[in-house]
Amino acid sequence: MTTRRQFLVAAAGIGLASGARATPESMREAMRQVTGGAPVRQGRVKLDLPVLIDNGNAVALGVTVESPMTPADHVKAIHVFNERNPLPGVISVFLGPRAGRAQLHTRVRLADSQTVTAIAQLSDGSFWSDSVQVTVTLAACAEES
């Protein structure tokens, strides 16, 4: 038999679970795990994302990084983060000179209007980024289908 106390504790747990979301802080923390605290500079990265999004369930996202992609100077990884989905990570890709170009396209879910950030890790150890502020009209994954 469920006591009132057990019920309240369980209800609070459900409330916490449904309220769990990435925040600007958790996005920064996820970025720190990738960069190890190294400085991230603006530039060289271009994040392509529509500014106004009707439907957050499948949003075309593109990232290109200016790089010669030679063995001596290339992009090693591209990471994409968001602020307001349940989790801050979106996608991480690992590439090298054999990719020829540092370019990525995919389709993402966006749960809310927020800032999306792409970070590129270069072979010299530097990090570069670009951010886009998007407005989402119909949020992804909010309700069951």
């Binding site: 679970a17 449904s18 369930n57 499948a58 949003v59 968001n82 989905n85 349940p86 989790l87 990570g89 979106v90 996608i91 991480s92 890709v93 690992f94 590439l95 090298g96 000179p97 054999r98 990719a99 020829g100 170009r101 370019q103 990525l104 396209h105 995919t106 389709r107 993402v108 879910r109 966006l110 992804a140 994954c141 309700e143 069951e144």
Partner: protein, 111 residues
Amino acid sequence: MSTVSTARTIVRMPATAKRGEVIEIRTLVGHVMETGFRRAAAGGLVPRDIVRNFVCSYNGAEVFRAELHPAIAANPLVSFTVVAAESGSLEFRWSGDNGFAASASASLVVT
């Protein structure tokens, strides 16, 4: 182009290329990408079921790899580029929750 997999996969890329040319490869795998954050009608969360990894190998050497999170839309599309270095085959592998595995391969003739 031959395809061996448990799920529907699509790979679009040129069949031939000049040596040193950068070619674009577009891939798609059929998958629900259940986030693990949706609520079922009966209450409780629908368990997560996503594709977590994608790897492209070119004649056995890994040239591109992706780690996917629940924020990737259903039927994950990943498009990227490779340098056409030599003729051979490209292998594409997806893996994910609940033992999900899919693969596809394509051949490339480099002139």
